[in-house]
């Protein structure tokens, strides 16, 4: 087993020198895992949140962390391989070197015929292409793929929670933290002047729920909507 001292003094620096692309990917994965766990723990320790909510948000944080991690490892690995392939095939070329020289470098026999300076230039170029593509993969994974998946999942969860408020018969039930869900059957039969009636309480709740959903909506629009 590697001792921690040896790991930090020799093994990790060696890995950094030999394969910087993989080093960056693995260290990013480590920091994202720690960050996800940290955010999850901070939710669990948040006493202001109800216990059930804490569990739910913790699971949400863990799911986000999982999506980030899987996307990061998959994309950066694949992009890294793709970048290396592009450089090896001569699709992207180093400064003052042509595609023929790169092809020659890739064959065992031709490599010996090349000048050592050209050889070192091409090998550095292949490494750089791999690292650049790995970073590109990380950007695509963390900044494009993961947010899209997260937004779609969050939108789906939001829709499901809103659907819970509607009965299958078409009778509207109001989900309110203040009072239990009350069905509204014939709105026209109830006088509209008494605020203390159940219907008006439910109307007020309905309005407050809409307000909570859209805090920036014009108040007049909301009042008209729930008249």
């Amino acid at each position: 087993m590697i001792k921690p001292r040896q790991f930090f003094k020799i093994t990790a620096p060696r890995f950094h020198i030999e394969n910087n692309g993989k080093f960056l990917t693995r260290t990013s994965a480590l920091t994202f895992t720690v960050s996800g766990l940290g955010q999850g723990l901070s939710v669990l320790n948040n006493k202001k949140l109800p216990k059930d909510d804490r569990k739910y948000i913790f699971c949400q944080e863990m799911a986000t962390m999982g999506i980030n991690l899987v996307a990061l490892l998959t994309f950066s690995n694949e992009f890294g391989k793709w970048g290396k392939k592009l450089a090896e095939k001569g699709k992207i070329l180093p400064h003052k070197i042509n595609a023929e020289q790169v092809k020659q470098y890739m064959s065992e026999a031709g490599k010996k015929a090349l000048d050592s300076k050209v050889q070192s230039k091409i090998s550095t170029h292949i490494k750089a292409a791999s690292v650049a593509a790995t970073i590109l993969g990380q950007i695509v994974a963390l900044n494009v793929f993961a947010p899209i998946v997260r937004n779609v999942l969050a939108g789906y969860a939001d829709k499901r929670s809103k659907q819970k408020c509607k009965n299958i018969d078409g009778i509207k039930h109001i989900a309110s933290p203040v009072m239990p869900a009350t069905p509204i059957k014939n709105e026209e039969q109830v006088p509209a002047t008494m605020f203390t009636s159940t219907l008006h309480s439910t109307r007020a709740n309905d309005m407050f729920n809409s307000f909570a959903d859209n805090p920036n909506k014009n108040l007049q629009e909301l009042l008209d909507q729930h008249k």
């Binding site: 060696r14 042509n98 070192s120 550095t124 170029h125 947010p147 939108g155 920036n216």
Partner: protein, 209 residues
């Protein structure tokens, strides 16, 4: 029938600038900067154009993402840069020593002297200075340049992990909220929401009376 010889396939490739080679030695702080800078644009744009939520929610989430990205990228880049500075200067000032076996690792990775010279050049050493040195001196100076960088990268990652607990968990939310409060453009939605809330409360008071 006369058969014409097939034309030789000409390989075309896109030439990249000379500085592209420097990407092979990207530091973790630079990597965090690239990811953060692109996140600032893409994540804000994705949140602003999310069709699953209504217009106001979109606006709020986009402004919050924008503020949060500035804060997280800033703290991440700073933590990594500090770690790298500690790692690199620690070796220069003799806090850590370059292990003897590391010379062999560098020699195995950059087998020819030309490769070592090329690497030294990309690390910022002047060509005249490189040409004055013999092969063993080149290997020596490459090891001395490479090892601090590697230790700096590791220290940078360690600092990033620490910063997650110190900065991200304790300061990200207050700083993001402070930014949203201070910046009038970002604050526009919040002000409107507060105004509406106040109006609603006044209306309720009127009803109760």
């Amino acid at each position: 029938m006369v058969t014409l010889p097939r034309p030789k396939k000409i390989a075309f490739g896109l030439h990249v600038p000379k500085s592209f080679a420097k990407l092979a030695d990207t530091k973790p702080s630079m990597q965090r900067l690239y990811i953060g800078a692109t996140a600032l644009v893409t994540q804000t744009a994705l949140d602003a154009g999310n069709p699953m939520v209504d217009k106001e929610t979109r606006k709020n989430s986009a402004t919050r993402t924008f503020a949060k990205m500035i804060v997280t990228t800033g703290s991440g880049v700073c933590a990594r840069s500090i770690g790298e500075w500690i790692g690199e200067n620690g070796i220069k000032k003799g806090l850590f020593k370059v292990p003897e076996c590391f010379k062999d690792i560098v020699k195995n990775t950059y087998s020819s002297t030309e490769a070592q010279k090329n690497e030294l050049e990309s690390l910022g050493m002047k060509i005249e200075e490189i040409q004055r040195k013999n092969s063993s001196q080149i290997l020596e100076s490459l090891t001395k340049k490479k090892y601090p960088r590697a230790i700096g990268a590791i220290a940078g990652v360690a600092m990033a992990v620490v910063s997650v607990f110190v900065a991200d968990m304790l300061f990200i939310d207050p700083i993001t909220n402070w930014m949203l409060d201070k910046c009038p453009r970002l604050n526009k939605n919040k002000n409107k929401a507060n105004e509406n809330k106040q109006q609603c409360e006044n209306k309720c008071k009127g009803w109760k009376a």
